[in-house]
């Protein structure tokens, strides 16, 4: 398995879930911008599951050295890379913030996934799971830079799914909704709408097994987003969302 964003709690919970369910991986490749945090996880899965792993440092905001990714071979890619950035009020006119959000969530990420997608395509097998966001379903004033990058990422995954379908590679889009993770710590989230990483991992694993195309983690989010997507623009633009 290849994990992009291996310090993500959802990615880690997914790895644990898959191993618990008896999935076998010769090696798990943990791609990360923080070696220290990924090392903790690598030791953890070694103790818990006798699982071998390899840490590969990658920083999406810098030039990526693809030669060190050449030897990687796997049938499953889990992408949980993400950066929320500063919200619109504080971060909108900060170019660095904007660039970073777009790079990590989309522009630098897509070539990296493409690199692995090509490998999957040539083997004519495998699954790519990408974590997008409900924020990409409609731009809202609170985080639309992030939302727009995620919208682009959702569109990319959907196109990739379409393109790779005949090549026997499956692509799954996950839109988690609120998550109880580092990204949202300290925010007053409604517990009924918030999933824990473990809940999310269970749900993503189930959908992975069923080869679903696009899922929301908690079913309630498909209803919420259905409504949000369908509010007429002349009303929507006046709302404080």
């Amino acid at each position: 398995m290849i994990v992009l964003g291996s310090t993500s709690e959802v990615a880690q919970a997914f790895v644990e879930k898959a191993l618990q369910e008896g999935e076998k991986f010769e090696k798990i490749y943990l791609l990360t911008s923080s070696r220290e945090a990924s090392e903790r996880f690598a030791k953890h899965i070694d103790v818990k599951f006798f699982q071998q792993s390899e840490i590969i440092e990658i920083d999406l905001t810098k030039e990526i050295n693809y030669t060190k990714l050449e030897q990687i071979s796997s049938n499953l890619l889990f992408c949980a890379t993400g950066f929320l950035g500063e919200g619109s009020e504080e971060g909108l006119y900060d170019d660095k913030n904007t660039a970073r959000i777009i790079e990590i969530n989309y522009s630098k990420l897509v070539p990296l996934i493409n690199f692995f997608a090509q490998k999957f395509e040539s083997k004519r097998s495998g699954t790519i799971i990408g974590l997008s966001s409900v924020a990409g379903d409609r731009g809202r004033q609170s985080n639309f830079i992030y939302g727009s990058a995620k919208a682009a990422f959702t569109a990319y995954l959907s196109g990739l799914r379409n393109y790779l379908f005949e090549k026997k590679v499956h692509v799954m889009t996950v839109k988690p909704g609120f998550m109880d993770t580092k990204m949202t710590e300290g925010l007053p989230l409604n517990p009924a709408l918030t999933a824990t990483p473990k809940q999310a991992a269970d749900c993503i694993y189930k959908a992975f097994k069923k080869q679903k195309n696009s899922i929301y983690v908690l079913p309630i989010w498909s209803v919420i987003m259905l409504i949000i997507r369908n509010i007429p623009e002349f009303i929507f633009k006046k709302l404080k969302l």
């Binding site: 945090a37 903790r40 030791k43 103790v47 710590e185 300290g186």
Partner: protein
Amino acid sequence: MKPNFVKKVTNWGNFPVVEKEMRSEDQYSKIKDFVLNHNEIIARGNGRCYGDSSLAESIFSTKKLNKFISFDRLNGIIECESGVLLSDVLEISVPQGYFLYVTPGTKFISVGGALASDVHGKNHHAEGCFSEYVIDFKLMNEKGEIITCSREENSDKFWATIGGMGLTGIILSVKFKLKNIESAYIRQESIKAENLDEIFRLFEESESWTYTVAWIDCLQKGKDLGRSIMMRGEHAFPHELPEKLKNNPLRLKKKFSPTVPFYFPGFALNSLTVKIFNYLYYKKQAKKEVKNFTDYDTFFYPLDFVNDWNKIYGKKGFIQYQMMIPKDKGREGMQRILETIANSGSGSFLAVLKLYGKENPEAYNSFPFEGYSLALDFKVDKNLKKLIGQLDSIVEEYNGKIYLTKDSMSRSSLTNYLKNVENPKFISLQHKRILNNNTI
């Protein structure tokens, strides 16, 4: 939305409830920042203590320190971060033939909490407290420095932290020994005792057993005072097990565990319902003595079977009162405690009697000493303070002690026994209350 980290926090008893800043980090550099930028900090694991001991002005949750570090399978030595739960340890150790040397009555506590409370189990008389099996641990002090503490290195901090209720710093990781087992089952004997004399006699007779504990029906009076069931057990060997368990002695089947869906209304638990429960529990076992095999979950963690069982006490919550009386006065003291409870009519759903062995004089902050302890659950209501006052007076008369991990309202003369922990950086609401001699 700006994060403010202020949350409603409460421990397992749902009493008291406070609104305080709570944060969780997994990187040592960020934990250091937190320590340097806050005062009156306490670390909190899974919130399974009962009172206010893991609450403070600023709470550091160890929930994200949840990784294993190493497992020496040859010698049974495991190292993990402090937020790892005992249930996580058991999940990987039992199938490989290892069990915790010391475990309390729930497996949903963190390893850091086990050390800070220096937890004890049904085998204290035989195997002591959790700390006996701790090799070393890493502690972040008030300056944000990480120090390794063992019997040889920083031994003053080592002993102050054991049972020190988190007041010496933030425990980051713990290395400890595990016990060899050959099966996941316990050979158990349950024996009914008609009264206090009989149960004390049974405890004296059972000293050679590794695990002993008694459940007491604390609403009985007169000749039935102390009516109880003694449970004693040993880890079973595979050859002793019934045929169907022999093949896979270290694996347990997954069981369904129900969840209490909501807080019960306040009136649901009253002296009548407790009386009925106790009556049924005592009568469930028809024979005087039953011998059987039971899996470790059922033997050690009967209450973990029901998720969120704390909700049956209603929204106002409950407290657990666990006290200890020296052995020579144990019989007399317990009789007075039980009489006081029975007369008050405030029955306890759960009443557990235990005999403790000799204390470890080095672990001076640990709760247990040689004697008898009784743990009781009481629903929080207007009569509770008066009852606790009466019970405290009896415990004080016999030079007893209250278990800090469960304390939320006992008088400070029974709860101020910690030494070498004074530190303005790390201070819990409980410790402040005890120092100020306040009650909630």
